[in-house]
């Protein structure tokens, strides 16, 4: 089946040159490595490699043909897998879906196709050298196949919240402004402005195609910066490619639709990629770390053994990229600042994680821009104070107590609480938790495995742990665990991959000789490697395949596990258009039925407000679980609303009531029937997907006027003008300080002192102004 590497060290394929794991320019060192190395470590290792290089470089003839055949076989497996996955999807009956979501209607060959695609990728990982084209095509096709599954089957863009975001964008392009009181998300309008600008400039009036394909596109875009992160790691090509493959597969969180968080995540990945590629300290500083005492002194006892294991000498888990010009680094630094400004203006959580990650990298000495976390924090807090006044003014306690409300709106369904309504949905939700726990714990095991090999993966550790800081920031309506998992993914995928492929590579071009006192450690680790190579190479690939299959099937189950109510049907969109047609002007009150406590999320599961956002209100009504009682209550509520009132029910929302609140499946049909028979009500719109009812003769009430929009304004207090002056000066000084640091050779810090002296009073002044604003404006 596979051609397994023969000679010793063959599979420890060393990566060389400008190695890019994800993008695939990984080359085996077996032929590239100079025989006559001048490295101090050349002795033992060099001898071993010298011995083994020969069979590889001579691998022509039969061996070459066998290897080629293996690649051809994998190509064939891949094409078969793709065909098995996609071709049977033609006849899928979406309406037959059960509480398990999309997986319940998927044909068995499609699931088999997913398994074949996965197996094909893992077989490619088992080959003796990286077949870059094959790996890239398989990676991209797996990502597209998994993430486009529902998009390809459903005629309309899925996920109701995406339609609300379309509503924000429509509002901005129509009114050329925002209304900060309409929705908290309008205080961070950067992303909506970007999409509004782009679609308007391109003359796109219909946002549906953008909504429809955004998840697929964003997942593909994530792979670019993630590949840049991967190439800085000291790992084998297998580890890197497996990590790149895990990334889209483990991302079942569903935060990749057209949303500020999806955009923020892309910025976050770019931010991390730039930091680890071009702002890592010189290797000399890296090497000097991890040693607390002279190598000769040995301490015994369990404690010291654990201590030495934790803090003892360790090879860095990262490679240093070839150094670049200071001016290039200055441009990259300015790009980093622009990235965090855009992220701050677009999303409330992302900049916080950017700052946390940068701070983590600084603390672990993997980032030379030591002032960047402070700079980022100033931008973050300044935006919060000056630009989001509409969000916090008047209820500061709520905001900083538990900023849950806006997050829960976003999660129309991706809740992490287990429902009691439907055992099937509850199982899907448990599977989500299980998958998150599985990935996180395997990541920790991977970290430990690398540590036993004396490799300190600080960057991966920071990427894994820094997102946990967000727990301290916001509650996000119980959704923060999900968001944290989402942000932990880059680090987690790398570390999970290390669990199976832990060997590190040594790059002759970029990796200077280790200091003499670290060499025994390296050799020691090398000696511990098992001798039976075939087994050693096959077992990890098989183990990785088992995990990969579990993750792929887990993905198909949980990613589209809420599909019965996350799917958007044509009639549901039409229902809202009909209401707008019927009332071309003025407010519209959409009465809807709920069976839950709506204090956390007071909105129906419908594609609401995708047009005319500011005109809709959503008064809810608790169901009496009895059709006659509900008809009476609905009629009474519509009378209260007068001519603005409509009662709306949709299939997605009915599925939600059934699955999440345990309302019987037949209840909604019976209610619709009873409503249409009621003499007080008329059917405004009805089809299989949705129904809209209104009073036949609404009580004559004056049409309530719409509230004037609250535009973005910074809000004046006595000290605010001072803050407006301090802020740009402080940002300028902080940026000049970092630019100065880039020009200062390592070890010399004196040049920064004047900037630091300037920063302190300015920072104190700004903090005072921000505190004053919080007090005065609240």
């Amino acid at each position: 089946m596979l051609t397994m590497p023969r000679g010793p060290w063959r599979t420890e394929t060393h990566t060389t040159g400008p190695l890019t794991a994800g993008t695939g320019s990984t080359a085996t060192i077996t032929t590239a490595r100079p025989v006559n190395t001048t490295r101090r470590s050349a002795g033992r290792r060099g001898a071993r490699q010298g011995k083994t290089r020969r069979p590889v470089s001579q691998s022509t003839g039969v061996r070459g043909r066998v290897r080629l055949d293996a690649a051809v076989v994998v190509w064939a497996v891949f094409v078969i897998g793709l065909a098995l996955f996609w071709l049977p999807l033609r006849g899928v009956e979406l309406d037959a879906m059960s509480g398990y979501g999309l997986i319940s209607v998927l044909p068995v060959p499609t699931l088999a196709g997913a398994a074949v695609l996965t197996a094909g990728f893992l077989i490619t990982l088992g080959l003796s050298r990286p077949h870059r084209a094959l790996l890239t095509v398989q990676l991209l096709c797996t990502a597209v196949s998994l993430h486009a599954l529902a998009q390809a089957l459903e005629p309309l863009a899925r996920f109701p919240t995406a339609w609300q975001h379309a509503g924000f964008i429509e509002y901005i392009t129509r009114t050329h402004g925002v209304d900060t009181l309409l929705d908290a998300r309008f205080n961070w309008p950067g992303f909506f402005a970007l999409i509004g600008f782009g679609t308007r400039a391109a003359g796109l009036d219909d946002l549906e195609p953008v909504l429809h394909w955004a998840p697929v596109l964003t997942n593909l875009l994530y792979l670019g910066p993630f590949a840049l992160i991967l190439r800085t790691l000291r790992a084998t090509w297998r580890a890197k490619w497996f990590a790149a493959w895990l990334f889209p597969v483990a991302n079942w969180v569903g935060q990749d639709y057209l949303s500020p968080q999806a955009f923020g995540y892309l910025l976050y990945l770019c931010w991390v990629a730039i930091l680890v590629n071009w702002f890592q300290p010189a290797p000399a500083t890296v090497r000097a770390e991890g040693r607390r005492r002279s190598p000769g002194a040995r301490r015994t006892g369990r404690f010291w053994r654990a201590y030495d294991w934790t803090f003892g000498p360790m090879e860095p888990g990262e490679l240093r990229r070839p150094p670049i010009d200071t001016r290039d680094r200055s441009v990259l630094f300015l790009l980093l600042v622009a990235l965090i400004v855009v992220a701050t203006a677009s999303h409330q959580l992302t900049p916080f994680l950017m700052i946390a990650t940068a701070a983590g990298l600084v603390v672990t000495r993997r980032c030379t821009l030591r002032g960047l976390p402070l700079l980022g924090s100033v931008i973050f807090v300044a935006w919060l104070s000056f630009m989001t006044r509409g969000y916090w003014a008047g209820h500061l306690g709520d905001v900083f107590g538990g900023v849950g409300r806006l997050g829960t709106n976003l999660s129309a369904s991706v809740g992490d609480r287990i429902t009691r309504g439907s055992p099937q949905l509850a199982r899907v939700q448990s599977a989500r938790i299980a998958l998150a726990v599985l990935v996180s714990s395997l990541a920790l095991l991977g970290l430990l495995r690398r540590r036993t090999r004396r490799t300190g993966d600080r960057v991966a550790l920071v990427l894994l742990l820094a997102p946990l800081a967000s727990f301290g920031l916001q509650s996000y309506g119980g959704e923060i665990a999900l968001r944290t998992y989402f942000f932990m993914l880059p680090g987690a995928c790398v570390l999970v991959s290390y669990l199976f492929f832990p060997a590190r590579t040594v790059d002759p071009a970029l990796d200077p000789a280790p200091a003499p006192d670290t060499e025994p450690v390296v050799v020691q680790a090398a000696r511990r490697r098992p001798r039976r190579r075939r087994l050693r190479d096959t077992v990890p690939v098989f183990a990785a395949a088992v995990l990969a299959l579990a993750l792929v099937f887990g993905f198909v189950l949980v990613r589209f596990g809420n599909e019965r109510f996350e799917r958007v049907r044509a009639g549901e969109v039409k229902a809202f258009e009909v209401m707008l047609e019927r009332r071309p002007k003025g407010a519209i009150d959409v009465v809807w039925l709920t069976a839950e406590d709506t204090t956390a999320s007071g909105f129906p599961v419908m594609p609401w407000s995708h047009h005319g956002y500011e005109r809709f209100e959503y008064p809810e009504l608790h169901t009496a679980r009895d059709t006659a009682g509900d008809v009476e209550a609905i009629t009474a509520r519509l009378r209260e609303q007068g001519q603005t009132g409509f009662f709306v029910t949709t299939r997605g929302h009915e599925a939600y009531l059934n699955l999440s609140s345990g309302l019987p499946v037949s209840y909604s049909a019976r209610l619709r029937e009873a409503l249409s028979r009621s003499g007080d009500l008329q059917v405004v719109f009805a089809d299989r997907d949705a129904a809209v009812f209104a009073l036949r003769s609404p009580p004559p009430q004056p049409d309530p006027a719409l509230r004037r929009p609250a535009r973005l304004s910074i809000g004046l207090t006595p000290w605010t003008p001072a803050g407006v002056v301090y802020l740009p000066v402080l940002l300028g000084v902080l940026m000049a300080r970092e630019l100065r640091r880039l020009r200062t050779p390592p070890g010399r810090r004196g040049g920064l002192r004047p900037y630091t002296m300037l920063v302190i009073p300015l920072l104190a002044g700004l903090i005072a102004v921000i505190a004053e604003r919080f007090v005065m404006l609240n």
Partner: protein
């Protein structure tokens, strides 16, 4: 047509940023300049919105001007 305009929106600033980063390897340069282009367009959109100067045509022009300035800066550097 729409795709062409979108390319017109993103490609010039990407070229501008790439011109400012001559020392990077191709893959790194591609990702950094794509991020730069995204940031330029997003900042233009954000500033138009906050300053009540919303105009997609004007924004396109602003992006073009910024791209030209970035290219000019790279010329000066050389």
């Amino acid at each position: 047509m729409a795709v062409l305009v979108l390319l017109l929106l993103v490609v010039p600033p990407a070229i501008g940023v790439a011109a400012l980063l001559p020392g990077l390897d191709p893959a790194g340069r591609a990702v950094a300049s794509a991020a730069g282009a995204l940031v330029v367009v997003a900042l233009v959109a954000e500033i138009m919105l906050v300053t009540s100067l919303w105009s997609p045509g004007g924004g396109l022009a602003a992006v073009a001007v910024i791209s030209a300035v970035l290219l000019g800066l790279s010329r000066i550097r050389r």
